[in-house]
Symmetry: C2
Subunit: 162 residues, 2 copies
């Protein structure tokens, strides 16, 4: 059983345990692979981010996501989210639970849509999951991401109206 | 004859004369229409921006653009640009000159592509001009921009490899 609650800075150790393996792999987020714990937490806890954590039945943090405005002024009604799950919790529906929660949270905060700016084309699992959660591919960016082993790969823009 | 040179803070009055009418119209940039001069100049002069101005044969500033990384880390090789021209200089090729200069400047700075994140669908003139300069529409964002008279309108993602 996965439940989701707002994060606090007391979750920082647990959040870093979630972020670190994904950021070190460097295959899905536009951050340097050697990012420090402090820089990663500052990136996750940007002032405009709302942060949530997913906890399992043992109250262990197994995932986290942020939701924020993707732009400003007359485009601030579109949100952007980022999700990360603990690799060893794979297959337990953490990513799906985070994404579905973010759709509700986005509606609650009054957003009209959620946009993903950079879904890496090699990340087939995420692509399928976001599509299963109602997102559509609305754009393709040629060579927009430098993958650590596959070189310059395409990225998708995905979008869902709320 | 339009020529283009790097801007300095001594150009701020002239840059604001270019920015103000476009920002006040609120039809093309994701900024609040009532933005102050200080906030507009801070937006244009963000630390990561390189700023240029277009000057006419009377040495009058008739346009300006910025170029910056559109993302970070393994996606920092894609640039983003914003362009503005003085409305009364319309038809003199200022936008085209700025855009063509930014393609050269992007190559010079080592970018591999330029991406526009939010080209408003109602801005037919810009759409045609960017296409004439080699950009392609690679995505469409439904209702992503709240136009002051037309309500929620679509926006395009445009892209050009350098």
């Amino acid at each position: 059983m996965i439940s989701i609650r707002p994060a606090t800075r007391a979750d920082d150790d647990a959040i870093w345990r979630v972020l670190e393996p994904t950021l070190r792999a460097g295959e899905t987020y536009p951050q340097p692979r050697d990012i420090s714990r402090a820089d990663a937490l500052a990136y996750w806890w940007k002032p405009e981010h709302s942060i949530f954590v997913a906890v399992d039945e043992d109250d262990r943090v197994v995932g986290t996501y942020y939701i924020k405005p993707n732009s400003t002024g007359p485009a601030a009604h579109v949100a952007n989210c980022g999700y990360m799950a603990l690799p060893e919790a794979s297959g337990r529906g953490v990513g799906r639970a985070l994404c579905l929660h973010s759709l509700e949270e986005g509606r609650r905060q009054g957003y009209r849509a959620i946009q993903f700016n950079l879904v890496i084309a090699t990340n087939a699992r995420a692509l399928h999951l976001w599509q299963a959660c109602g997102f559509e591919i609305v754009g393709r960016l040629p060579g927009a991401f430098e993958h650590p082993t596959q070189g310059f790969v395409d990225a998708f823009v995905m979008y869902q109206e709320l």
